[in-house]
């Protein structure tokens, strides 16, 4: 700590250079924060997946629906505690750009297998009672300015209703939240019975089943039992854990995690070169000064520590500000309306570790150069 003043003053020896370096580190860690949050959007579904939930789909394609009779047969499999179903509505609100997830579900069953979704009791009751009602996630309400009681038209690009229209009219019965701040609430849940009776085709089918099981350890065995039950039928199934389902769903977009990692690697490598070069330049300019410190009794280790502290401090300043702004934008202001766009504690911890590592990596070679200086040679350069 007693060297802090010396480190601080040395940093500002060339103000413009130091500010530019801090700015480049700032941008790098702001980018790190935002990309980490983006990664969370894609990997969040996997993280949020419950190990005690299975998903049963048509074996050939998620597009194919399954007979509703499967629900009871799935519930009869040993180890299955509860089961729900969902069907893709595939609609938008007012403008084709306003796309979000809408599922037709059995309200009681669905909320039973997703206990993390919370909704006030009176709104839940209203949804259960009112066939043409929906509940919507908090994020949607905030995005479209809806209120409970509003009637909203939804255009389905898949489902024509019995009156020959693709526009479905719903009343908002309630607004749900999620206990997990990372979970998306950009979702609308429609009453399956109303949807099934109202659609012009496909009655009696369901999109997929969500199954709550007794133990995560039995997942493979139960999944196998379910799929065996429907083997050699016209609608064979594929049952997997919710995490595996989420992973395969996200896989459609490509390996986002790898892409983000590659971008960040390139950014960090560039930052290391920039900062390392700045520190080397700074040490070269101060060789006589460092020699004076050694003459006064500073050991090689002292000098090494001072140079390392300088480079780490530049990273802490720039990286701290960048990560801090990313946290502010993503978590506090919620400025990016993407479901699951969130910086969790692990990402922040990673960020801090990377800041320190980058500081040490950028400073280590100049610090070693400073450590190895021989006083007599260095003083002769004064």
């Amino acid at each position: 700590m007693k060297y802090f003043y010396l480190v601080w003053k040395s940093l500002w020896r060339k103000k413009v250079r130091t500010i530019l370096t801090i700015l480049s580190v700032f941008v790098a860690f702001l980018l790190f924060g935002l990309l980490s949050a983006l990664n969370q959007v894609f990997s969040g579904a996997e993280d949020l997946a419950d190990a005690r939930r299975l998903v049963t789909l048509d074996k050939i394609s998620i597009i194919n629906s399954l007979p509703s009779s499967y629900l009871a047969r799935i519930e009869s499999v040993p180890g299955v505690e509860r089961a729900a179903h969902a069907s893709w509505f595939g609609g938008y609100y007012q403008d084709p750009r306003n796309q979000f997830a809408q599922f037709a579900v059995d309200p009681a069953r669905y909320l039973d297998v997703y206990p993390e979704l919370t909704i006030p009791d009176d709104q839940r009751e209203k949804w259960l009672r009112t066939r043409d009602s929906v509940i919507v996630g908090r994020d949607l309400v905030e995005e479209f300015g809806w209120s409970v009681g509003d009637r909203i038209p939804m255009y389905s690009s898949i489902w024509t209703n019995t009156s020959g229209s693709q526009v479905w009219d719903f009343e908002i019965a309630g607004v749900f939240d999620s206990e997990d701040p990372r979970a998306s609430t950009q979702m609308m849940l429609i009453q399956y019975d109303y949807f099934d009776e109202g659609r012009a085709f496909g009655q009696g089918t369901m999109g997929w089943f969500i199954i709550a099981i007794d133990s995560a350890g039995n997942a493979a065995q139960i999944a196998n039992a379910i799929d065996t039950q429907f083997a050699n039928s016209p609608n064979e199934t594929k049952t997997s854990t919710e995490a595996a389902f989420a992973e395969s769903f996200i896989g459609q977009y490509g390996n986002i995690g790898l892409i983000i990692t590659l971008i960040l690697t390139a950014v960090f490598f560039t930052i290391l070169l920039v900062s390392g070069n700045t520190m080397s330049q700074s040490v070269r300019e101060r060789i006589p000064e460092l020699a004076v410190l050694k003459t006064l009794g500073f050991t090689d280790g002292n000098v090494l520590s001072i140079v390392l502290a300088e480079s780490t401090f530049v990273m802490l300043l720039g990286g701290g500000l960048g990560l801090g702004l990313a946290l502010l934008v993503v978590n506090v202001l919620g400025a990016v309306p993407l479901p699951g766009f969130y910086l969790d504690a692990a990402a922040v911890t990673n960020g801090v570790v990377y800041i320190v590592l980058a500081g040490v990596a950028a400073g280590i070679f100049p610090a070693l150069q400073a450590k190895r200086l021989t006083i007599i040679d260095a003083l002769s350069r004064a």
């Binding site: 003043y5 003459t295 009794g297 090689d300």
Partner: protein, 229 residues
């Protein structure tokens, strides 16, 4: 008990210059008494600065022994020498070598960073050192805001702040005009007489050497007999 502060015996120092070996000091013996003020004179390349570097533990002899006080410098490691220098030696350079980013006060405090003193104690000690060299009113000034003479005074304050016994001065007036040089030399003389600092000063300037108690002349790595210059 001997009153000798510095005892050098049979000191040689050879440098490798390319394929050639250059002997800068040759079997040199020197004794400096406690409280002495010694001027070292001689032509360029005679080995004055090398001798000063050896006395300050900045360099090691190729052969021979160096004792300063109780310390056997030729036997000490680099880090042990660093620690020893921080409390036993004050260095004064021709070009002052102050850190430009620090004020006079903070420059003087630098050697005290290596002690267990807290910030307040360091500041007090630095203020005393600055008052000894007559610069208490320049404490908050940066080196660029000081004249050459003032910079050298700050350097002297830095050299004495940890109260070392031995001050090593390498051409301390080499960059100053006559009048300022005399001021600095009077200050060194006062430190020698009033504060009992032992001083070894390398100089080309015979007028500067007159401020010392003794003058030794060096040539080709050896000391000329006293009075021979």
């Amino acid at each position: 008990m001997s009153d000798d502060l510095v005892v050098l015996k049979d000191i040689s120092r050879t440098y490798q210059k390319g394929k050639e070996k250059v002997e800068v000091l040759h079997q040199l013996d020197l004794t400096i008494a406690n409280g002495d003020f010694l001027a070292l004179m001689g032509p360029s390349g005679s080995g004055k600065t090398t001798l000063l570097n050896l006395l300050g533990g900045l360099d090691q002899p190729t052969s021979g022994s160096i004792r300063v006080g109780d310390a056997e410098l030729h036997k000490m490691s680099s880090s042990a020498l660093s620690k020893w220098r921080s409390t036993n030696i004050g260095f004064i350079f021709q070009f002052y070598n102050l850190l430009p980013v620090l004020t006079a006060q903070k420059n003087v405090e630098l050697p005290l960073l290596l002690t267990r003193m807290n910030g307040r104690e360091r500041a007090n000690r630095a203020a005393i050192a600055l008052s000894i060299v007559g610069l208490e009113d320049r404490a908050k000034h940066y080196p660029r805001e000081l004249s050459g003479g003032q910079e050298q005074r700050v350097a002297i304050a830095r050299a004495i702040v940890s109260d070392p016994n031995l001050l090593l001065c390498d051409e301390p007036t080499g960059d100053l005009d006559r009048e300022t040089a005399d001021e600095i030399l009077r200050l060194l003389q006062a430190l020698n007489k009033e504060h009992n600092k032992t001083i070894v000063m390398v100089t080309h300037d015979s007028q500067a050497a007159e401020y010392a108690r003794h003058t030794l002349h060096m040539d080709k790595g050896t000391l000329a007999p006293e009075g021979a210059g």
